[in-house]
Amino acid sequence: MPGDEQFKQEVLRLAGHELLTCIQCGTCSASCPTARLMNPSIRRLIKLCLEGKKEEATHNETLWLCTSCLLCTSRCPRGIRPKAVVSALKDIAERAGLQGKDAAYEKFFLEQIKDYGRIAELALTAKFLLVFPQGAVQSMQMGLELLPRGKIDLKIEKIKGRDEVKKIIEELWKK
């Protein structure tokens, strides 16, 4: 099957044309804290993009194992930003309607910023647990640590400029 050229161009537009200079050296993978769990590796993910393999590049666990630590980006000898590639692929996948617990977490996060201007962790967690009940044990453990120390925000603070924030998200998202 020939590669999806349109997909490749979209990745280049979002993550930078320097991607074309990747030499597949694997420095990014060697730097990555979650490399062990990634399949495809971050190096291979770059290759998949360049080959226009949209399906493989956007449907994998790798995107969601990236912690955004930017070590790959600091180290790449070609000045490529592998983390930006991950972000671009998440974006493309989310636009195409990708569902899943990880995508849902990002969606709820952005929705909260849109609605309140800020993040209220309790409300965010509650929403997330509805789509991923398996996270309940960890949330309980955290709650037991944080609640008695007064570190859970029970009320949601809303900023004044909510309309502006909403506009930022909705307008710039299209660009």
Partner: protein, 284 residues
């Protein structure tokens, strides 16, 4: 010195002690903080669309002409990355088209300051305000990822600013191999196991290095190493028992500020035994 202050969302929840200690230490060092009037979330690591993330950061930066100080490495990284991107005229134009108050191209990433660097600048060598020198205290300097990335004033792999500050407090920085390694925090909700493994590695390494305390500059690192420490110990079957302090809390102790002011009772792993050792060494 007068700076705009960006507390970040965690200042209202899991990072309350970060906020409290930042304000207390700043006051003690004569750093005047003016909170940004209507700040919004920076998007943390969860807004994958770069232009949206840039817009969110730009709205914060457009609220002041003063340099902005934050104690959160994630906010710091996001504001800096955004200021760098806003140097491109095309990005600036797109972003300003949706902002009420425009981002000025006169602003720059150099105006974004981490509390760590502001504090180090304010403290002189042998500063008399250090009334509780942290003699012999073995401190693991944990940078995590985002203080030094994207590349700014610090080396992304071999930074030394935390060690410099630790020494200025008369404590001893331990040789800590994983100091710029990620804590796993950004994926801890949806990818619990992966995040736990990474965080535990850091704790175990600090213990091996003989640290009496780990100092952090990021609320997510703090959450992973402090609030989760007990659970991680149970899961991995190894006792760690190392207190995790925000850098502002450590500085505050050296400045003789009280535990209440520094939010020390909010830490999960109590630093009180460590503090007793500090005081005991003082009178030696």
């Amino acid at each position: 010195m007068k700076l705009a202050y960006y507390p970040g969302c965690v200042s209202k929840s899991t990072g309350k002690e970060m906020d409290a200690s930042t304000r207390a230490v700043s006051a003690a060092l004569g750093i005047e903080l003016v909170e940004l009037p209507d700040w919004n979330c920076c998007g943390a690591t969860h807004v994958s669309h770069e232009l949206v993330a840039t817009g969110l950061a730009a709205r914060n930066m457009a609220q002041t002409n003063l340099p902005i100080m934050t104690a959160c490495s994630i906010c710091y990284s996001n504001l800096r990355a955004a200021a760098q991107r806003l140097e491109e005229p095309e990005t600036l134009e797109k972003v300003n088209a949706v902002l009420d108050r425009k981002y000025s191209s006169a602003y720059s990433s150099a105006k974004i300051r981490h509390a760590l660097d502001v504090i180090l600048e304010a403290l002189t060598e042998g500063d008399e305000r250090i009334v509780v020198p942290l003699k012999e205290l073995r401190v693991a300097p944990y940078y995590g990822c985002l203080l030094t990335r994207p590349q700014g004033v610090y080396s992304p792999q071999f930074p030394t600013i935390l060690e410099n500050l630790i020494k200025r407090l008369q404590a001893v920085p331990v040789d800590f191999r994983l100091k710029t390694f990620c804590c796993g925090g950004p994926i801890f909700m949806p990818q619990e196991k992966a995040a736990d493994d990474i965080a535990f590695k850091i704790l175990a390494e600090a213990k091996k290095a003989g640290a009496e305390v780990i100092v952090t500059v990021c609320p997510l690192c703090h959450l992973m190493l402090d609030a989760k420490q007990k659970v991680l110990e149970q899961k991995m079957g190894e006792k760690i028992g190392i207190p995790i302090l925000y850098v502002t809390q450590l500085v505050g102790i050296a400045l003789g500020l009280g535990p209440e002011e520094l939010g020390l009772f909010m830490n999960s792993v109590s630093p009180m035994a460590m503090m007793e050792r500090v005081y005991a060494r003082l009178s030696e």
